[in-house]
């Protein structure tokens, strides 16, 4: 099975329990990480923002409130079930925004359309990360910001505890709560294969971003990369 099929199967399987699993796996910290990512993105009223791999719409909700009045937030996800869930959750919060099912590596938007692009816990699941980053650069205006929130390399002394947690505890939790241990084993493996802080920063520069900054959260369990499109 190739990667995109695996990713589709994983998210079809976990869509219903996605939110509760996020809380369990991160011990609730994912909320703080997302809110920090939004403050790093610095959305302003009237701006156009694209949230790629929007999932359940947590980032998009905060971005939408901060870009009013006059702003525009689009959500995309490659997985239909996740996108529908995100859209419905946002509607329940009183937020209506355009939702587009598409591949992050081929965004159906004109060049230079957005002031800011965010991707929260989504880049890791894309097969061609370089191509995806180049697409995000393309749809950004010159001077636009890209914010990537993603799992990263944990601080070395914590490495063993983190491995034990991700390869033993996560699949167990996944089995008990979401009823799918293999989906969460995929999660742990994909985190391990994801480029570390320095490698991802280099990928951003290669894709045409400057002033690349990295913010480590929870000792590097998660990192935020921010770049400005030249």
């Amino acid at each position: 099975m190739d990667k995109s099929q695996t990713v589709r199967r994983v998210f079809d399987s976990v869509a219903e329990r996605y939110d509760v699993m996020n809380d369990l796996m991160s011990l609730g910290l994912h909320r703080a990480w997302k809110s920090f990512a939004v403050s790093v993105a610095r959305p302003r009223p009237g701006e156009r923002v694209l949230d790629v791999a929007a999932g359940s719409g947590d980032l998009a909700a905060a971005l939408c409130r901060k870009t009013q009045p006059g702003g525009e937030v689009w959500i995309t996800d490659i997985n239909r079930r996740m996108l529908e869930r995100g859209r419905d959750r946002l509607l329940d919060e009183g937020l209506a925004m355009p939702a587009v099912q598409c591949n992050g590596e081929r965004l159906p938007f004109p060049g230079g359309y957005f002031d800011c692009v965010t991707v929260g816990f989504g880049l890791r699941n894309m097969t061609h990360k370089g191509a995806a980053l180049a697409e995000m650069a393309r749809v950004l205006k010159p001077g636009g910001r890209l914010v990537v929130l993603e799992f990263s390399k944990v601080w070395k002394p914590l490495g063993r505890a983190y491995d034990w947690y991700s390869f033993k505890v996560l699949p167990w939790l996944g089995d008990k709560v979401a009823g799918d241990a293999s989906a969460y084993r995929y999660l742990a493996e994909s985190i391990r294969l994801h480029p570390d802080q320095a490698a991802l920063a280099a990928m951003l520069r290669d894709a045409g971003f400057s002033q690349v900054e990295v913010f480590n959260l929870a000792a590097g369990v998660v990192a935020i990369h921010r770049g400005v499109r030249i």
Binding site: L91, D92, G94, A96, K176
Partner: protein, 271 residues
């Protein structure tokens, strides 16, 4: 001369500082407008009938996960932080970290099982349909097959309400920004004539924090289908204004021959 200059200066600066007199109001201005219908909505908090109590319980349970979520989030966050601190400070750091992690996981597991149990209980809760003239308890499992006086059998209420919420938010945004074409697209001609007088110009958008929609009634009268939807939630109608609760009923109409989609025909307040 200097007084004259001062006068000019005051007028000039005064006009710069003047705030445009824009009062953002939600569409319809929070009053009754357009077609009004005689829909009976159940009183919100009267614990008289057992069926309504069941509804109250169910609402309480729906609200519960959010609040417990944030409370538990803080506790678990604290635990995680404690774990990290313990690791840094303790000489036998590894053991302490392990211990704290296990404690955290026990908490997490308890929380998960409680959420499970709650959800399982919810599916067995009878639900009372709003807008029914007589209260009837129907198990949630039998929802799609239900036939009632207010909502015809086979009517896709969930899909309809999703579309209604989308229209509701689109119309508020169009009203804020003064996009009359969009308002016209989603409303009947009569209502449009009334609404266009009060459309805003985009300076202060109405913002919603939470939006619920409830289908009160679907009826066919002559050549028209009518649907009444009760919207409720929290709204702030001006920049920096304190959010306030609101409830209003939107009456939607659609020609029975299907020549157009659902259009907003009237807004009415529940008093």
């Amino acid at each position: 001369m200097s007084k004259w200059l001062l006068g000019v200066a005051i007028v000039a600066f005064g006009s710069l500082l003047a705030v445009p007199d824009v009062e953002a109001r939600r569409i319809g201005g929070g009053g009754n407008v357009g077609a009004q219908r005689n829909v009976t909505a159940p009183p919100k908090q009267t614990p008289a009938k057992p069926a309504q109590q069941a509804q109250g319980q169910q609402q309480g349970q729906q609200a519960a996960p959010a609040s417990t979520g944030s409370r538990w989030g803080a506790i678990l966050g604290g635990l995680a932080l404690g774990g990290l601190l313990g690791y840094f400070l303790g000489s036998a750091g590894g053991n302490l970290l392990g211990l704290l992690m296990i404690a955290g996981l026990v908490f997490a597991a308890v929380m998960a099982f409680r959420a499970f149990a709650r959800r399982r209980q919810e599916t067995h809760q009878p639900v009372q349909f709003a807008g029914m003239r007589e209260t009837v308890s129907v198990p949630v499992n039998e929802l799609p097959a239900m036939a009632s006086a207010s909502v015809p059998a086979g009517f896709d209420a969930a899909g309809f309400l999703r579309g209604a919420k989308m229209s509701f938010l689109r119309l508020q945004a169009a009203n804020d920004a003064g996009r009359l074409d969009e308002i016209r697209e989603l409303t009947t001609e009569d209502l449009y004539q009334e609404l266009k007088k009060d459309a805003g110009n985009g300076h202060q958008p109405t913002q919603f924090n939470g939006l619920e929609a409830e289908l009160l009634e679907v009826a066919t009268e002559g050549a028209q289908h009518w649907a009444s939807v009760r919207f409720s939630g929290t709204i702030s109608e001006a920049a920096g204004a304190a959010p306030a609760d609101f409830t209003e009923v939107w009456n939607l109409v659609k020609p029975a021959d299907g020549s157009s989609g659902w259009l907003l025909a009237g807004i009415q307040q529940m008093h």
